[in-house]
């Protein structure tokens, strides 16, 4: 091992031990990885939104399968799905039953069933094979699309069901608002995504909607920086799942959250 090699190793070790580097390069690399992972999710994951065949409120029961079923699914035998609180049971053609848990996918033949949304009124999503090939669909990364903002508290922290970017209901509360360098203000909501997890999301519109980006608008999450500050990086703006597959319901645009100037950053939309 040569001295320059050792020097490089020491330098690399020092850099790695330093607190999280958030240089522009690191940000760029992170965005590139996130985009690659998102594409992989869309193209290959069994529960990719492009694999969804149907999503419907479960009610008391649903019949899946033949053409006269509540949810016709080609190639699937008649299945009766009965709701049991937040969960369900699936009656198979051979008379046996399968339990279906909330957020726990079950494979039956060539399809996967998933109960999603709020436990008190779950929806049943049916997934099959991924049907579309997804291409690159982002604007080039732009440093101008990144701002550091502070979150002004909301007038009232009301918690209520709301449709998330993934087309499923969750509990959400008003989290306040952020003011951009343009002077415009955007509302922020706190979406509960797990037992101890939540995301601060903004659903915004801008003049690119309908031409270059999804007509209903895009979501972007705030990244906490500490000290009450957040990074708002529109390069990470992403489409709701309804942009990928009309099986998913679209969240209604939030009142007011419209930018006056085009935001050419983040995910694009190609109407196919």
């Amino acid at each position: 091992v040569t001295a320059p090699t050792i020097g490089r190793m020491v330098l690399a070790a020092c850099c790695l031990l330093a607190p999280a580097p958030r240089s522009a390069d690191a940000q760029s690399a992170e965005i590139a990885r996130a985009r690659a992972a998102h594409l992989e999710f869309l193209r290959r994951f069994p529960l990719s939104p492009y694999a969804a065949l149907a999503q419907q409120p479960l009610g008391d029961s649903l019949v899946l399968g033949p053409d006269d079923a509540d949810v016709p699914v080609r190639g699937l035998p008649r299945l009766l799905v009965r709701r049991r609180g937040a969960t369900a049971s699936v009656e198979l053609p051979d008379g046996s039953t399968r339990a279906l848990g909330h957020q726990a996918p079950a494979a039956i033949g060539d399809v996967r069933l998933l109960l999603r949304g709020l436990r008190e009124r779950p929806v049943l999503a049916v997934y099959g094979a991924i049907r579309a090939t997804v291409g690159t669909r982002w604007y080039a990364e732009s440093a101008a699309a990144v701002q550091v903002v502070t979150l002004a508290p909301p007038a009232r922290a009301r918690r209520q069901p709301a449709l998330g970017f993934d087309g499923a209901e969750t509990m959400a509360s008003e989290a306040g608002s952020v003011t951009l360098t343009s002077g415009e203000t955007l509302q922020v909501r706190r979406y509960e995504t797990g037992d101890d997890e939540a995301e601060l999301e903004i659903f915004f519109r801008d003049p690119t909607n309908g031409r270059e980006t999804y007509p209903a608008g895009r979501f972007v999450a705030l990244e906490p920086l500490g000290g009450g500050q957040y990074r708002l990086d529109f390069n990470r703006a992403r489409n709701p799942f309804c942009a990928y597959n009309t099986i998913f319901p679209c969240p209604p645009p939030w009142p007011g959250n419209a930018l006056a100037r085009p935001m050419r950053a983040g995910e694009r939309y190609d109407a196919q």
Partner: protein, 409 residues
């Protein structure tokens, strides 16, 4: 093959050889590594250890360590370009690229909402160990502030061989072993096991107040305040969270891993004190509880105690779930029957166990008297990270079994 083509082939092989040799020279991963996950609200620090398999030298083994608690990676692959680690029974992965003698990459797990990606850095060596000051050591009563209300937690800090260690406890269990550092009035401590990403940052405000943030996942942040604990009353008693129908014998009927139907009426349970462990292989707290239950079974089986585990798994597909439960059984050396009871949802579990009311927790331990009726239900489990609470809980389980064997109500 002509002579000239043979010469061409030889020439091509000679050209390729140095590259092939270089491709095989994967750097040596042996030793302890500092792992850093860059969350939005700070750097989560954890450690990993790697060694070649003793019998098969081409294979690597590794462990992810949260202080004194280490858990094996499901798989470790090392090449000249990268290191790929599988975690949480292959549900998550860390993919790293070599950068000199360090590694850079991502932790990834994918749900139906999309991938969760957290940047990861790794370098050889251990994180610094800092002593725990007297003012911090012990328990703190915390209030986690949600957007529409607060909920109680308990924070524990102790001085261990790895410096600051501790845990976060709720009414039904602990969040696993945390490890961290103290600098002046500021503390950071973290837990990362492949499924759960927890990070606590706090600072002392005056003599008797901690003000901090509980980070979960990449971005979630819950503010909290904590004061030195005034006793055990801060968290609700786990035994009061789930109530039970004690009028009739507890009933269950599920298939074991060989497909045989097992019920409460089977000969092995008749006239015995029975412990029913409601668990899931996906549940880290259940992994904490399993060794304690195995030990209790060893100690009490000959005295008339029987056990049964009811597994609530991921898919509801008996072939898939069965293999997960078999791996769990073999990992902990469980010799009592494990039954496939349903899928991993508290509502589903509650539906299959109608005699438990308010069932919300995995694991839940149900104690049955010799007449088959429920005598005690314990929601959750305090793992080894909970220190004295863990030991007290096991002593409490033993006292319950002793009393039931004597025929006490």
């Amino acid at each position: 093959v002509t002579t000239s083509s043979r010469r061409l082939l030889t020439f091509a092989v000679l050209l390729a050889l140095p590259g092939a040799a270089a491709a095989q020279r994967a750097p040596d991963l042996t030793g302890t590594w500092r792992i850093a996950l860059d969350l939005a609200g700070g750097t989560l620090r954890t450690e990993a250890r790697f060694a070649r398999d003793a019998a098969y030298r081409e294979l690597w083994r590794g462990e992810l360590c949260n202080g004194g608690r280490c858990d094996a990676f499901s798989d470790v692959r090392v090449t000249a370009d990268s290191v790929r680690l599988q975690l949480a029974d292959y549900a998550a992965s860390i993919t790293l690229a070599w950068r000199g003698d360090s590694l850079v990459g991502d932790y990834r797990n994918v749900g139906n909402r999309g991938p969760r990606l957290i940047p990861v850095r790794a370098s050889r060596g251990r994180w610094p160990v800092t002593p725990v000051p007297a003012w911090l050591a012990g328990r703190w009563d915390a209030q986690f502030e949600g957007s529409v209300g607060s909920s109680p937690r308990l924070l524990e800090f102790r001085d261990g061989p790895h410096g600051l260690e501790g845990t976060v406890l709720s009414a039904t269990g602990d969040y696993g072993n945390f490890r961290g550092t103290v600098a002046g009035d500021s503390i950071v401590m973290s837990h990362f096991d492949g499924s759960f990403v927890y990070h606590v940052t706090a600072r002392r405000d005056g003599d008797s107040l901690l003000v901090g943030t509980f980070h979960a996942g990449l971005r979630s942040q819950t503010p909290f305040t904590a004061r030195p604990s005034r006793g055990d009353g801060h968290l609700p008693d786990p035994a009061t969270l789930t109530t039970a129908d004690t009028a009739a014998p507890f009933r269950f009927a599920f298939r074991d891993l060989d497909g045989r139907l097992v019920t409460q009426d089977d000969a092995r349970f008749r006239g015995k004190v029975v412990v029913v462990d409601v668990f899931g292989t996906w549940c880290p707290t259940c992994h904490d509880a399993a060794p304690a239950l195995v030990q209790l079974y060893r100690d009490y089986r000959d005295r008339g105690v029987e056990m049964v585990g009811l597994a609530y798994e991921v898919t509801g597909d008996s072939a898939v779930d069965g293999s997960l439960v078999r791996r769990y059984r073999d990992k902990f050396g469980i010799t009592f029957p494990l039954l496939l009871a349903g899928i991993n949802d508290t509502d589903a579990a509650a539906a299959t166990l109608p005699q438990l009311q308010g069932f919300t927790s995995f694991p839940t331990t149900v104690f049955l008297a010799r007449d088959g009726r429920i005598r005690r239900v314990h929601a959750g489990f305090y793992g080894p990270a909970a220190g004295p609470r863990h030991e007290r809980q096991i002593a409490d389980f033993r006292a319950t079994l002793d009393a039931l064997l004597k025929g006490s109500p």
